[in-house]
Subunit: 382 residues, 4 copies
Amino acid sequence: MQQSPSTSRPQLGIGLIGTGFMGRAHALAFGSANAALELPARIHLAALADADSARAEQCAQAWGFDRSHADWQQLVEDPRVQIVAITTPNHLHFPMAMAAIAAGKAVYCEKPLAVSLAQADEMQRSAKAAGVVTQVGYNYQHNPMIGLAREMIEAGELGDIVSFQGEFSEDFMGSATSPWSWRCEAAHAGGALADLGSHLLAMARYLLGDIEAVCADANTVHSQRPASPGSNEMRAIAVDDQTHALLRFASGARGTFSSSWLKHGYKNHLSFEISGTQGTLTYDQERLNELRIYRPGAPGRDGFQRLLAGPAQPGYAAFCPAPGHQLGYNELKALEVQALILAVCGQGSRGPDFEEAWQIERLATAIRLAAHEQRWVALDDI
Amino acid sequence: MQQSPSTSRPQLGIGLIGTGFMGRAHALAFGSANAALELPARIHLAALADADSARAEQCAQAWGFDRSHADWQQLVEDPRVQIVAITTPNHLHFPMAMAAIAAGKAVYCEKPLAVSLAQADEMQRSAKAAGVVTQVGYNYQHNPMIGLAREMIEAGELGDIVSFQGEFSEDFMGSATSPWSWRCEAAHAGGALADLGSHLLAMARYLLGDIEAVCADANTVHSQRPASPGSNEMRAIAVDDQTHALLRFASGARGTFSSSWLKHGYKNHLSFEISGTQGTLTYDQERLNELRIYRPGAPGRDGFQRLLAGPAQPGYAAFCPAPGHQLGYNELKALEVQALILAVCGQGSRGPDFEEAWQIERLATAIRLAAHEQRWVALDDI
Amino acid sequence: MQQSPSTSRPQLGIGLIGTGFMGRAHALAFGSANAALELPARIHLAALADADSARAEQCAQAWGFDRSHADWQQLVEDPRVQIVAITTPNHLHFPMAMAAIAAGKAVYCEKPLAVSLAQADEMQRSAKAAGVVTQVGYNYQHNPMIGLAREMIEAGELGDIVSFQGEFSEDFMGSATSPWSWRCEAAHAGGALADLGSHLLAMARYLLGDIEAVCADANTVHSQRPASPGSNEMRAIAVDDQTHALLRFASGARGTFSSSWLKHGYKNHLSFEISGTQGTLTYDQERLNELRIYRPGAPGRDGFQRLLAGPAQPGYAAFCPAPGHQLGYNELKALEVQALILAVCGQGSRGPDFEEAWQIERLATAIRLAAHEQRWVALDDI
Amino acid sequence: MQQSPSTSRPQLGIGLIGTGFMGRAHALAFGSANAALELPARIHLAALADADSARAEQCAQAWGFDRSHADWQQLVEDPRVQIVAITTPNHLHFPMAMAAIAAGKAVYCEKPLAVSLAQADEMQRSAKAAGVVTQVGYNYQHNPMIGLAREMIEAGELGDIVSFQGEFSEDFMGSATSPWSWRCEAAHAGGALADLGSHLLAMARYLLGDIEAVCADANTVHSQRPASPGSNEMRAIAVDDQTHALLRFASGARGTFSSSWLKHGYKNHLSFEISGTQGTLTYDQERLNELRIYRPGAPGRDGFQRLLAGPAQPGYAAFCPAPGHQLGYNELKALEVQALILAVCGQGSRGPDFEEAWQIERLATAIRLAAHEQRWVALDDI
């Protein structure tokens, strides 16, 4: 950590790999975090890497990075970089993260951690051995309303948790003519379960802890898709369009899980209902500033209550001083960055780190196995 | 069928057994059907039976029945009765329905059909052999909005059906102090799956047809409950408080199923989402006059649309001439009565009849077995 | 009141005039009230009148009336009739009600009470002088959820009432080709304010009491309409398509009022928000079994709560033993009938009676005057 | 405009006055606009002013400004500043904006433009005379969903506009113990109408154009408030707690207006319904990523449709590539900054500029006069 000349706070140099949508989301988040959030260190945009050197340089200038690299390995080795942020396609997470760990850098990697459980395991073990801070981009759990949900559950406001109904559906693959992409390749961690469902598994674990056993059913609705938009060439599709599962939590709670990328009408429908012996809580990410809560009351005077995000939740207060003004997707990312900086500065780990991301991959693997073999699978057997 | 003196329409005599909530709901429904619905025969309230003869007579007068019986067998044999309506506790459905079938009467029986699959099978076979008309009180499917949902699905408006997410939750057993009742006894067809879930299974079959295989998980959250309200005497509970399942439809659709009687906040939450290759449809019975539908459209101009019940649906038009005025629970029952009268008069069977009710019981049995043995169960094996 | 031979309760003979939609709604409501509601007297369907004698007889048989009349005056004079129910076009309310009052009968009249304020005043004075019980069909206020709203307001749960935002919009005249009907004639108490707005005025008075002063704006959007569906003949329209107003309540509360019959998308949108120093309450009649309530709470833990109709409200309990099952439009009418029977039996007047209906007409007259003269109008000046 | 050394785009230096919530919101917005939005010039954070020099320097460093000033006049005169952004209390808008205009700088001023109509008029005339670009922070109209609403209205998708129901309510002054602040002083442009209502008037004009005449009612519910939180010293309050009004648009549309800062339960409830001869559109800013639209359709198949913000709207696409991910309050501010930069670069004025802000003040003045004199007021007379 370098001392900034103009302030007593240390400075952390970011090396960002990737300039796609998620790269820009990172850039936006670093800037917003610096401007709006209390951070123990100042974020410095040290370097940006993209294999296309012209694009790398253009984005570096547009986004405020000091320099650009066409070779990500140079970025990893750059001494001005203390945190390596990885936003490249999934199959590159492993080599990039392993190199960063080897260089002793903190790693901030987009989900999924890797394209195989073995890779994910090696990554988490290596990070632990090297003692580097890691964080994986399950950004939705940095939503202050999710933080509130967790507080309520932990404080026992819902009593003992009895059930979980969770779903993450979108419809971007809803049409039979939605074309093939790398997301359709199992070797790139494709399919609805990996792409969307993993966010929901992360959420379920974040809120309710370990899952012990799963049973599942997965299927491919469109077994071939155009090779590109409008193409007549068709490619066979082997990954799941949708996966449904039953979940048994270590706590005794039971539930259902659904993940689909072809459920028409849904655009960002990570939703859940969590019910306990004292109440029920529901969330739908298409309205990410809201939570609905029910607690038993006098007959005729009880009912679900809509909670609107407001400054009573610290992450919200940093961006808006009054309730009802609403955070957006990008601010969840900025809050994720804040968690990262806190962790790198040794001020608590809100995660999820590589170990937790590996647990999420284990769970997804168990679901895939359960669907494949049409039987219950215990997590202990994965 | 007797000729009514004052009209050319024939008259059908009803013999109603039971004077509890459901008995009164039948009485209300017969009256509303007569006054509001087009019927090929006039309903005549011939006789009412209750083991408590004073209550039988009091209710008969209040509800407009010609006479009362303390002995239901007399009612069944009464030549003025053409339709026997059974609203007694579940374990009595079998002897009463069998007697009515033996007497050649049409039978209108509340759900569940029986307290065992063997009974249900015997009842449906006997009815078929005797050639009597039967109908079982899965009243929710007589909701005009459910009729509209079925029309849309059958007309292919949603394309090929891909997924079903269904839930029927209430919370009347939500408290650990909610007392034991006959609903807590497996021998009386108790438990959340039988009590609530069976309505959802009926709905799933009504809308999407046969289910081929199921996997399930069931559990009892409160393993003992007070013997009566406020009692210190506790009774052990063996039936499910909640059941979750995976469903595979013969059509290829896949889905999830949840049923609970302790999910806080829900009062009549029979809800489902049905998604196909061309759209999605959602329903929540706590707003029974609404249906939400999504069809893909121009980007930024599509979205879920709320349909409000209105006179475009025939069953609604009979009760309200303008949309937005809303039917209530009791009017669904009157529409069920209309279906019954049409069936008895040979004008089509909208059902569900005893055979369909037996199929629903088979499905519930498969779910119970799958939960018990923690494995997938094929319906063909039941 | 005659003694019924078969029960100790007295019997009240109904004479119903009119066989249109509202006539049938009355018939349904009498039947449901008899079967489901606790009444101090049994309702007896004594006579039905319609100028078309064949139709009168046919409906009498279908709906269970003892006899029919082509001449409504015979019905009014029939000694078996104790209550005259008037469901004819608005301009007939006056002569029929006046005849019934003269005959010493109770009168149950649909809204609006009359086609002029002078008529309404004469009707209420005559009824008072004759000492007969009267009731006017502002049925929406018999909704148990409206009863709950009034209880809450009266108990001070919202503190001092500060504001009222009310609207009653439908869209049945939304198209320029929606044809002329008697509702388009001022002489028949036509226009959106009289047809729909008067329900909202009744509600505002029922919940918040007297209104002292109004200012208003009214306009006719389609100044001519086809004489009949599809006709090329156009008729000039003078009544309002929409009226907006400001209201000042005697209590000090202030508010807005809107009434339209051409606001697209609304089918039965009688809605209001009532806010006080301690909370806010909202209602939308397109979901008549719901009420939303807000009370200040801990920051981040407060929010609007949805109350679902349930048996905690007596009127609901009579029809459904569990919450969430929902009443329909016709059951509100049955609850209105119960209020009528209680009033006729001297057990309290829930109203609104002719005097209250005249007050509602006075208010509508003030709004019309304010709109015409584009100035504030004090109710004392009407 | 300076040429940036590292790119062909020119650079615009921002001088920001004020470091409160709105100052930080500006800083965030400049950063996000630079990183995410297509701008014809690069934004350069040249200088920050605050009367408290230590705070000015601290914020300058935290937010990335090159230098700080305790004296705002120095900032205005700084040649590196091309745009003066004013986020100070309302009574300072006038001197600061006039100085900036005199210096030939573009002015970006928070609302309301001034504390009197005379000031606002002088400001707009001066800006016009000086030929400087101006923009006022009615940020809510930069919401892409509001842009969509305007597109729909302008394209005639709703037909001729018939009615407007608008409300902007919050509850931050809901308690009698909510203390006095400068917002309670008329001389500082206080009161619910000025503070909140002006946003709604801006919106009404943006969507539907000129308003010709108004009638209004305003009142102060709590006529005194504590001088500070918890204080026993009470201050008399003369400004409105709530204002209701009737609006007549030049287009012929009519409507209602409500503005309150003590309507419990509302946190950011700028809402409206706009209805025309072909459809209706509704919006509630507590869900700023949504719009509801109704167009007449086949009976039983029409209904309100929820549109979710998505990349079909350009402003959204810049921040999120997929629908349903949601913009937040701060991104509306960044879009406002984009409009400003486009205007300064001569690429169209999306406004509102000082002239439009003066029109909004004229309208608010007319409403205040109409409420005070209890009569209709024509805008031509203001």
